[in-house]
Amino acid sequence: MADAPNSPGPSPRPYGRPLSPHLSIYRWPITMAASITHRATGIALAAGTLFLAWWLIAAASGPDAYALFARVAANPLGLIVLFGFLWSLAFHLLNGIRHLAWDVGYGFKVPTAKLTAAIVYIGSLVLAAGAFAVGFMVKGGLGT
């Protein structure tokens, strides 16, 4: 990159000092936490697609394969994974809508961004807990 004609040019930088404040410098505002959680839930959902593929393959393969899937899913560890999947999807969905609003120019004011981040955290927990309750309590669990 060429410098603009009247720019002072690169200033000498002493070694051993940070070039700019980085992650470890900041307190964690809720907007920053939401941004990182968006990425983390995206990775979790990528892992969750393996569960989705297994579900479809098991259903297509017949009763025995499906019974194995249902047993694993109904296991306490399976339930934790399913709840994690539901919460990750709810968070990524709600925060994704927040991102789409930013893309068209809404919600950039700091108080607004903080408020919508809080709504995403609380809303995603409510949605995930609600879906989990409907699926696994009202219907009496996964066991067939």
């Binding site: 393996l50 579900w55 259903a59 017949g62 009763p63 499906y66 539901l86 789409l100 996964l142």
Partner: protein, 127 residues
């Protein structure tokens, strides 16, 4: 007035240093918008079939009105996944060789998961 550093050819092509313009950004947004209704539909469908037999799930996807949105959900979600993971790989893999290998693996994995899910769905839809 700022100094123009782009050649006339680069300007008319409008593709920038990524050589693909805003295609990645745009496809990520399009799949995101599509996934809003599709993922809500998917969770509702999956919750309705908690505890069901394999045959009931297969019968559900034998109906085109369910097979079509499920197919779209698989395509949109695996594509959206590969676009998102690509950004993460580009952010954190600094070694050129490792990055290229990870980017390839990312696309291979997305295609494998999408193909496995899609073929299982087609098997039920055409049964």
């Amino acid at each position: 007035m700022s100094l123009r550093l782009r050649t006339p050819l680069a300007t008319i092509e409008g593709l920038g240093s990524a050589h693909s313009g805003t295609l990645h950004f745009w496809h990520q947004r399009m799949t995101a918008v599509a996934l809003v209704p599709l993922s809500i539909w998917f969770v509702a469908s999956a919750l309705a079939y908690v505890g069901a037999e394999a045959g009931a799930v297969a019968a559900y996807f034998a109906q085109p009105i369910n097979a079509v949105p499920m197919f779209l959900f698989i395509v949109a979600s695996t594509y959206h996944m590969s676009l998102g993971l690509q950004i993460i790989i580009e952010d954190y893999f600094h070694d050129e060789g490792q990055r290229i290998a990870a980017l390839m693996l990312n696309r291979f994995a997305a295609w494998a998961i999408g193909a496995a899910s899609g073929l299982a769905l087609i098997r039920m839809a055409l049964a």
